[in-house]
Symmetry: C2
Subunit: 419 residues, 2 copies
Amino acid sequence: MLTQQQVLEGRQQWLGGGYRLFYQEPLHVVRGEGVWLFDSEGRRYLDAYNNVASVGHCHPAVVEAIAAQAAQLNTHTRYLNDAIVEFAEDFLTEFPPELRNLTMTCTGSEANDLALRVARQITGGQGVLVTRWAYHGVTSALAELSPSLCDGFEQGKNVWLIDAPDTFRRQGAFAGGVERALEEMKQAGVKPAALLVDTIFSSDGVFSPEPAEMQRAVAQVRAAGGLFIADEVQPGFGRTGSQRWGFARYGVMPDLVSLGKPMGNGHPVAGLVGRPELFAEFGRRQRYFNTFGGNPVSCRAAHAVLQVLRREELQQNAQRTGEILREGLLKLAARYPVIGDVRGDGLFIGVELVSDQRNTPAPELAAFVVNQMRHKQILISATGPAANVLKIRPPMVFQPEHATLLLETLAGVLADIPL
Amino acid sequence: MLTQQQVLEGRQQWLGGGYRLFYQEPLHVVRGEGVWLFDSEGRRYLDAYNNVASVGHCHPAVVEAIAAQAAQLNTHTRYLNDAIVEFAEDFLTEFPPELRNLTMTCTGSEANDLALRVARQITGGQGVLVTRWAYHGVTSALAELSPSLCDGFEQGKNVWLIDAPDTFRRQGAFAGGVERALEEMKQAGVKPAALLVDTIFSSDGVFSPEPAEMQRAVAQVRAAGGLFIADEVQPGFGRTGSQRWGFARYGVMPDLVSLGKPMGNGHPVAGLVGRPELFAEFGRRQRYFNTFGGNPVSCRAAHAVLQVLRREELQQNAQRTGEILREGLLKLAARYPVIGDVRGDGLFIGVELVSDQRNTPAPELAAFVVNQMRHKQILISATGPAANVLKIRPPMVFQPEHATLLLETLAGVLADIPL
C-alpha cells in the first residue's frame, strides 16, 4: 500500500493536469462498504456524497454479478447475447410506455452526447437550451454546453443559456427564460434541437421547480420543433424518493432520457432511453456501435443494481431517510441563519448557505463546512454557481441513524463557525 | 437461457435502431475462453477477430483482479487511491520518456474526443486531418471526422480528409495529401489543430506505410502548428508484433496517444497518454473529471492486462504467429488470384480480395468468405472503403495451431468460391 504522500506525488507526476482532488486535506480511501469509506489508517467516513455507489459501496450482489459474468463472457453487441436483452426488457418497465428503446453506452457523457446527435439529426436543428450553470459531460459537444465545467468556458455558438428554476431566489424564471431563448434562436436563424436539463438541476444548485413550470418549458420547446432530453444521470434511479426518475415528478414526458452514474454502482455503464421512432430514424441513417457499451458484464452489473434497488426498496428508503434529513436540516436552519434554504427531494438535498439577510451567497463558509465535516469524517460537497450550496447525496442505503450522525455533526460544525 | 429467436426479437423490440449484427446468420454467444467463443448449442468458434479480448477471453488473472477490487473499493479520482497511481507509473514505462502523463477515460471514443479538446485548446486551431475512411469514435465531435461510420456522413467544416497510405494501390499518396490539405486549410483560414490517424489505418483497409512517409506527414503538421495524435485504440498493446505501439514502427513521436479496446480485455477502460506540458496547459484552464474514468476497478483490470501481456510475452507471440499467418496467406495468394494483397503486422492482418487483374475490389466475395468462415466456425470480418479486405485480428494468445486451422479452413472456402 502506498502512503498518502506517495499517492499525491504519483498523481502529480503521472496523471494529466486536468485532475482535481476533493477537500483541503485530500482523502486517501482504501475500502468501501455500504455507506462507509475507509481511509488508509483505518478511519471510517460516512459517505453522504457519492451517488455512484448508489446501492452501497461494494454491494455483494453487484460484485458477484460482475465477477460471474466476467468469468463467463465479455464481448460486444454485434453478437447475440442474452444479457442485454434480459436487462433491456426488465429495465424499460421502469419507464413510461412511450419510452421503449434503450441504447447502451459506458458513461453519462456518452449518453448525453448521443442524445444530442439523435436530437440534432431528427429535428434538423442545431440549437440547444441548457441552464446557466449546467453540467452535462466532458465530450467536445457537451463541454460547450456545460458552463460549470471550467472558468474559461467557451459557449458553443448554437447554445443558449437559460436561468435555472431557482426556487430560492427567482421563482418562475425558468419557463420565461426558455421562451425568450427560443425567440432569440428564431431571430438568429437557429433551429432548436433540444432542451437538455438535469431534472434536479444539480450543478445549478439543486432545484425542483413546480410541475407547471417544467410543463410550460417543455411545451414551448416542442412547439418550436425541439426535443426534451431529461438528463437523469444524477437524479435518476429513485434517488428523489417519490419517483424513479426526476422528470416524473413534473408530469412531463421526455423524448430521450440519459442515464449514468448510479446505473452500475461504479461499474462503467450508462445508456439512453427514448422513443423507439427516434432511434429507428437515427438508425436508418447510421449505426451506433459502442465497443464496450452493452457488453454482458456491464448489463449484468446494471441488472443487479436494478434488482437490489427493487428488493431493498431503496427508493422508499430515499424518501423516508431524505425526509428525516430535511426535517433535521430545517431545524438547524431555524437555529442558524447562515442556512438560507433547505431543498431537494429524497436523498438529493441542497442546503444553501448565505452570509446575511439579503441571502448573499457564502462560498467560503460552504468550503469551511465541507472541510470541517470531512475532518469529522462525514463526506459532503458544495455546488451551485457560487459553490455555496451544500450537496448531500449519499448512497441510497443511508439509514435514519446515518442521518442523525450527519445532522449532529453538522450542528457541531455550524456552532463552531467563526463569526 | 434465451433462444436465438428470443434474443433476436428482444433486440428488435427493446434496443435502439442503431444496433447492427455480424454475419448473415448472427452468432448467439454464451461463453468465451482464450481464443474460443461458444454458442448456445455448445459449438466452439475460433475467434480470429476480437482484439478487445486481447489477452484471451475471460483471462483468469484479469477476472480475478476485477472481482477482488470490485469487492474492496470502487470510487472516483477525487479521492486519493493507490490503484491509478500504481497503474499509471507502471504503464507509462511502456512509452517514450516524452510521453509521461496519463488521463484515464472509459472508452476509446472518450480518449479521442479528449485528444481533440486538448489539441484544439493548445494550438488555438480547429482544423483536423483524418484519412478518407477513418473511424475514431462515436461522439458528436468524432462522428464528423469518421467517414466510415455511416452512409450519410456529414463531414465537419473543420475536417479535411486525406488519402490513407494505401500500400497496395497508391503508394506514397499520404504525405502528399497531408501537404495539400494543410495548404487548403491555410487558404480557407483554418488553423490546424491535429493530424489524427489510426497508426495501422484499420478502417481504411489495414496499411503500414514506409516510416519516411509517416515522418514526412508528421513533420508537415508540426510545421503548420498542429499536433500529431496517434490513435492506438486498434493497433496498440503489442498487436503489431515488432513494437508495443503502432506509431513506434515509423520512428515518429506523437504528442498524444489514445488508447482503448484491448486495454482492459473487455472491461470499459481507456485513456490518453501525452506530453505533460500539454495536459498541464489544458488543466490550467479546465478540469477534466470522468466519473468512472480511472476508478480502482478499471485500473486494476488494465494493470492485470498489462502484466499478462508482459508475463505471457504476447507481443512476441503476435510477431511469431502473425508471421506464420502471413506466410500461409501468401501461399494461398499464389494459388488464388482473388487474393490481391496480404498485409499488416503481427496479429493485425488485412487480406484484400479482388475480382480481376486490375485489382477491382470484390466486396461480395469478401462477404461470402466472411460468412462461409463463420459457417465453418472461424470468426473474421471485412474492412476498407469497399469492405473487400478480410480483417484478421485475433486475441493475442492465438497460437500456430490456430493459425493452421484458420488457413486450412480459408483454403477450403476459397476452393469453394463460385466462379
